[in-house]
Amino acid sequence: MGSSDSFVKFDKVDKSYDGETLVVKDLNVDIPQGEFLTMLGPSGSGKTTTLMMLAGFETPTGGEIYLEGEAINKIPPNKRGIGMVFQNYALFPHLTVNENLAFPLEVRKLNKSEIEEKVKKTLDMVELGEFGNRMPLQLSGGQQQRVALARSLVFEPRLVLMDEPLGALDKKLREQMQYEIKHIHERIGITVVYVTHDQSEALTMSNRIAVFNDGKIQQISSPDVLYEKPENAFVANFIGENNQLKGKVKSINGKNCVVTTDHGDEITSLKINVNSVGDSSTVSLRPERVEINATEGNFENSFNAKVKELIYLGDHIRTRVEVCGNDQFIVKVPNSYKGANLKEGSTVKLSWKASDSRALDLR
């Protein structure tokens, strides 16, 4: 029952290692051709396991995986034609860079000149043309990483998997490589499934991000939607910074609802992940969407707050306030005349729009 429009399809996939706990539960994902999909999630959430099932090194305990409409559960890893970049690169230490790249081509019995040409072309693509005769250990971390990338692409696979490929690099190199991988993806239009637990990496690189927690996909959508419109409290909390106010739904009014906090304040929010009056809810709100002492504009929510702490961060001032019974509420105040006037201990007025606050499930 493979679907024709999706390139990779996970259909109700379960995985258990020990027969007691499911590390991947009822996984359903469709990946269209040419997409850059990132799996993002905390450690132990089942990302690597999912990738390993796709590559063929683990077999699903239940469900089926389809590649181009073909069920691949029974196909061994060497027959899948999927490229993979391993976390520690797994470059063959006894072979030169050229030999590493030639390996998948020799296995496929290409003739010598063809192999040479493809190896050269792919090495040039990752800008390592002159390093072909080096041994992998004679390369820097970033260069090794690029060789691993080149090796996973050289045999023109249908799909490339990458498991935290940049995990071992320092921050600067990491960012540089993020762009390089992204550009290569755009240039050759290959489908990529990428694993990371670094959210900024996920946000920069992906077409879509699947947020994993506890073996389940919590939300799968494009980076902006994920950030702007998280569908549950885990995603809201995991992606970016976010303020949470807990309470109970008092009334529902079309798209909006009113949540009464334990402190008694009433917050008007978008109704996202609550169903009926009386449900417990977490209201989620991005720090940059809160105005301090707003003089104009149309805000549904306005509350008095006490300034607890000011942290000077150059372009903005991170302000911790107590509002609606939550003293960990963060507001980002631009470093303008407004910010300059703030004092610890003073009282300010906070305002935000109903469309910026989202009533989610309780966590």
Partner: protein
């Protein structure tokens, strides 16, 4: 302040940097030397000096010169055409007569290697010379024993006049000096060493190959299993180390004899007839089987320690790139395990080539190795010179093998742990 005067850098206190560095390092050097000194001394006295002594002994021929110094001086004047002059007979007479009995005994043993018959001749003469009061001696000596008139005996002395000899090395490869100091082959029925050498290498290589064949899969399994199982299996592999070598060897004797467990089982289950029992004990087969079992851990340990460091991701990557499991193993896993293979093979081969106790106990006549001959000459015939020569050849062969190995594979490709 750091200053540069006349090209040398000074430290803050004005001492040249180099001098100051040397001073600092000298203390470290002394400390290092003191730390290794006990071991160094130990090795010097228990290993290097004995080995040096062995090498000297294998060419040493000086003892006989201390028993017959005057005779040998006189001997050098002899033309080797006719019987020696009265003068040579006379010096020989007095040196035999005046020497201590045990010195003559020891010297005659050596002389017997050059020409058999010397020993009995000297024994008889020593006894009878006492009765001879005055010269001329030549006739009287010949009267005691006709051998004194035999040119062969006199000529054979020529092999021994030098203080060093290659004779033991010649013996070790079934050659010898004839009485004219020409190198000739041993008599047909006395050629034993060459085929023992061949057998020693054959057995060692076979044992090495069997150990590798049995040890490689086990090590692979050990390196991939979770720790709690691999520890248990490791204990099983090391079990042989816990029991005495003798106990294990005797257990094999019980197993492999013609009326032993193994043959009994085969007969009982009607696989072979009672009169066709396999001869598995007291021959070369027994030597190979038992040595393989005893030396197996020396193969498994280095293999395991190397395989443990080979990331399972290499194999995964190879599969992922499209290689069949066999191809991936052969092209990726195996080359990465070469340091372990080298170390294991080297260890097993070196241990096997000098092995002594197992062939002695289970090898019978046909399963003896060069180590058994070394022990035999050391303990039974007391021909230490020959023992030393055999040992030195063994040492030389291993050194050459090591050198060849280093040229071919590179010594950095050995990893013992």
């Amino acid at each position: 302040m750091n200053e540069t005067t006349a090209g040398s850098i000074l430290t803050t206190e004005g001492i040249p940097l180099k001098v100051s560095l040397q001073k600092a390092e000298r203390r470290n050097k002394i400390r290092a030397i003191l730390l290794v000194a006990p071991l160094l001394l130990f090795i010097l006295f228990t290993f290097l000096i004995p080995i040096g002594d062995m090498l000297l002994r294998s060419v040493d021929d000086s003892y006989i010169n201390t028993v017959f110094p005057k005779t040998f001086k006189e001997y050098k004047k002899w033309d080797r055409q006719d019987l020696p002059s009265e003068e040579l007979y006379k010096t020989m007479f007095f040196e035999v007569k005046d020497s201590e009995g045990y010195a003559i005994g020891k010297a005659s043993t050596r002389m017997n290697y050059a020409k058999s018959g010397w020993k009995s001749l000297l024994k008889k003469s020593k006894r009878k010379f006492k009765k001879i009061e005055e010269g001329p001696y030549k006739e009287q000596m010949i009267a005691i024993d006709k051998k004194w008139a035999d040119m062969e005996y006199w000529k054979a002395l020529g092999v021994m006049v030098d203080a060093t000899t290659a004779g033991y090395y010649l013996n070790a490869v079934d050659l010898k000096y004839n009485v004219d100091k020409e190198v000739v082959r041993q008599k047909e029925n006395r050629r034993i060493y060459n085929h023992t050498w061949v057998k020693t290498f054959k057995v060692s290589i076979l044992v090495m190959i069997f150990c590798l064949m049995l040890g490689y899969p086990i090590s692979y399994l050990l390196s991939t299993l979770p720790l709690k199982y691999s520890n248990l299996l490791m204990i099983c592999v090391l079990l042989p180390f816990w029991t005495s070598l003798l106990v294990r060897t005797v257990a094999w004797m019980v197993m492999l004899q013609q009326k032993g467990v193994f043959n009994n089982l085969l007969v009982m289950s009607n696989i072979i007839a009672d009169e066709n029992r396999f001869k598995l004990m007291y021959n070369e087969t027994a030597t190979i089987i038992v040595m393989t079992q005893i030396l197996l851990p020396f193969m498994v340990l280095p293999l395991y320690s190397v395989m443990k460091t080979i990331s399972p991701n290499y194999m995964r990557a190879a599969l992922n790139l499209g290689a069949s499991p066999l191809h991936a193993f052969w092209k990726i896993y195996m080359p990465n395990s070469v340091p372990g293979i080298s170390a294991g093979c080297m260890l097993v081969f070196i241990l096997a080539i000098g092995y002594y106790i197992t062939p002695e106990l289970v090898g019978g006549k046909d399963g003896q190795m060069i180590g058994n001959w070394i022990a035999y000459h050391l303990k039974t015939t007391l021909n230490w010179g020959l023992s030393a020569a055999l040992g030195a050849i063994l040492l030389g062969v291993l050194t050459v093998l090591y050198w060849v190995y280093n040229k071919l594979v590179g010594i950095e490709n050995i990893k013992l742990g």
